[in-house]
């Protein structure tokens, strides 16, 4: 059976889409912080560590939360679910905050709770902690969303038995500009057949590009 996208989430233009269904919309987003807080409340999420996260991790965390909401975690063997994410600006959003804290030698306040988020892959770590994922990880950086690069990376993991399934996508944020697309890709989509809300899509570069566009 071909690799399939069995679930996805999309964040952009004030919309949050989960498996083709619009679940949240704000016509005018004042700040990312406000947007993500409203979404967190609407979805009645409860995860105290969320408040400590930087924006990139918050964006990735909630994407994964909505992506896996109706999943049975036991469906995947331990260590067989990989996470491969990408973006354009790495952790620049938090890098700027850390740099600001050391700009002035007479008010020098570097903080470990900020500094730890100056690595792009921390968002992967947060998702792995929340869902107990011990599989392959990679954080890639490209100028623009590169569906071909992601498709190659994930297909290689699944085709060569480095993983059975993979959470993959794009999580980009700088200031109040953000966009995210996260997909659950499975080698064998049959386990997802019980899900009635969303018909799995073939996992291709074109399908990933379409999901980024049509929402």
């Amino acid at each position: 059976m071909d690799k399939q996208i069995t679930a996805y989430t999309y964040f952009g233009e004030g919309k949050v889409v989960v498996n083709k269904r619009l679940i949240f919309y704000q016509e005018k987003i004042a700040t990312f912080a406000e947007f993500i807080k409203s979404l967190y409340k609407q979805e009645q999420l409860s995860y105290p560590k969320f408040y400590k996260m930087d924006s990139l991790s918050k964006l990735g965390f909630i994407s994964a939360e909505l992506l896996l909401r109706n999943e049975n975690p036991g469906r995947f063997k331990p260590g067989s679910l990989a996470v491969v994410l990408a973006n354009s600006s790495s952790s620049l959003d938090t890098d700027l905050a850390h740099q600001e804290s050391i700009r002035n030698r007479s008010a020098y306040f570097p903080s470990p709770s900020v500094f730890v988020y100056t690595l792009a892959n921390i968002v992967i770590g947060e998702i792995c902690i929340r869902h107990g994922l011990k599989g392959e990880n990679a954080f890639l950086v490209s100028e623009k969303f590169n569906a071909g690069q992601l498709e190659e990376y994930v297909s290689d993991l699944l085709d060569n038995n480095h993983a059975e399934a993979c959470i993959c996508g794009w999580v980009e944020i700088l200031g109040n500009n953000f966009k995210a697309l996260m997909a659950l890709v499975e080698k064998d989509g049959s386990g997802a057949a019980l899900k009635t809300e969303f018909a799995p899509l073939p996992f291709t570069e074109a399908a990933m590009n379409d999901l980024m566009k049509v929402n």
């Binding site: 500094f115 792995c128 011990k134 100028e143 290689d156």
Partner: protein, 390 residues
């Protein structure tokens, strides 16, 4: 598995600008870690391993000449100069065609041109250069490579992931050559951050030692060239074999309590290579010299039943070079294999982890045929990669 050959390697660190200069430093027991009083880098004296700036500028001008480029050294950042120098050294004399459509550049870095956030640079460089893809483009364009570079930014395991991914890309037939380069520089950004974690050692770091007090930061850069083409007969071929990546799913800034997940990565890499743990002659560990990291690694080595396998950390020589670490430590491992020499783990005197592991206390010559490189990093990530002689 289809054999993937590592045919050339470069290391740029405080110990030198080529793999040979660096291994000579290792043989002579030199360490490049020292106290630096540089107010630009940090308000207080700090223990670091730094690259010689004069030597960098001088060497970079020679590379500009070699590639018939204009003498505009000022338009390249410190990291760009290091990366260009490293790749230029690594590909020298190789049958690598810059316009080869089957050649890919893979770049490993945690912070890239992060120094460009400092006020002194904001007017000097286009603000876009802070993006890792812009850094990669500068390197690609310098050499004229045609494919879009693949950029891995996955904390301290970036370099090992880059090598694993490179070998997988070659094995799949998508490329014939992979130039895997990694680098990170010492900046106030990184120093102040690790200092805020109280993770920096007040003296040169002492991996696996009882009196280890944290890590020493280093700047570094390295390149390894991989190919599907066997090297000429008569030269000792080094193969990159199985590799694996795992996550602890435990803590974003602290390692696993059990070492189970690093052990899992090591076992997977060994299994994929079609060998067993008793085949491993040597482990080049991550060995940052923070109390928790080294303890976790010792537990992982023990869980994988490799307590007797000689192990070292190169961090006592050139510090923790972040995105370069996986590349330059693998390059040093390759040199160990080629010369059948196991380097002493600098800074180690008294065993300081709860599991018994075989830390190398004296540089010794013995057959080194099958080796394991490991790395672990923030975000709970671990990676392991097997090297074998062809």
């Amino acid at each position: 598995m289809k054999p993937i050959y590592a045919i050339s390697e470069n290391i740029i660190s405080s110990l030198g600008f080529t793999a040979t200069e660096n291994t000579n430093g290792l043989l002579n027991g030199k360490t490049g870690i020292a106290v630096h009083h540089d107010n630009v880098l940090y308000p207080n004296p700090v223990v670091l391993s730094l690259i010689d700036t004069n030597k960098l500028e001088h060497s970079f001008k020679a590379v500009l000449d070699k590639y018939k480029k204009e003498h505009n050294a000022g338009s390249y950042t410190r990291l760009e100069k290091m990366l260009i120098l490293s790749i230029s050294d690594a590909i020298q004399g190789l049958p690598v065609r810059k316009d080869d459509k089957k050649l890919i550049l893979i770049l490993s870095t945690t912070k890239g041109n992060i120094d460009l956030l400092e006020d002194r640079y904001t007017a000097k460089f286009d603000h876009k250069r802070i993006y890792l893809w812009a850094l990669a483009s500068v390197i690609r364009d310098f050499f004229g490579f045609v494919n879009t570079p693949l950029i891995i930014s996955n904390a301290c395991i970036s370099g090992v992931i880059a090598l694993i991914k490179a070998s997988r890309l070659l094995r799949s037939g998508k490329f014939n050559y992979a130039i895997v380069a990694g680098g990170d520089i010492a900046t106030e950004f990184v120093i102040s951050g690790f200092q805020s974690f109280q993770a920096l050692s007040p003296e040169p770091c002492k991996p696996f030692d009882l009196n280890r007090k944290g890590l020493s930061l280093g700047e570094g850069c390295g390149t390894i060239v991989l190919t599907i083409n066997p090297p000429e007969t008569g030269t000792s071929g080094i193969l990159i074999d199985g590799g694996a990546v795992t996550n602890d799913a435990n803590h974003i800034s602290g390692p696993s309590r059990t070492g189970e997940e690093l052990s899992l990565a090591m076992n997977s890499a060994i299994n994929e290579s079609g060998i067993v743990n008793t085949d491993i002659d040597y482990i080049s560990a991550h060995g940052t010299a923070t109390p928790y990291n080294d303890e976790m690694e010792a537990k992982a080595i023990s869980l994988s039943r490799m307590n007797g396998v000689p192990v070292n950390s190169f961090k006592g020589y050139w510090g923790h070079t972040l995105g370069a670490a996986g590349i330059i430590e693998s390059a040093a491992l390759i040199r160990s294999m080629k010369s059948n020499c196991l380097f002493r783990s600098a800074g180690f005197e008294t065993p300081g982890v709860t599991e018994t592991i075989n830390v190398i206390t004296e540089t010794t010559y013995k057959p080194v045929n099958t080796c394991l490189k490991t790395a672990s990093g923030f975000g709970g990530c671990n990676a392991a990669l097997v090297f074998q002689k062809a």
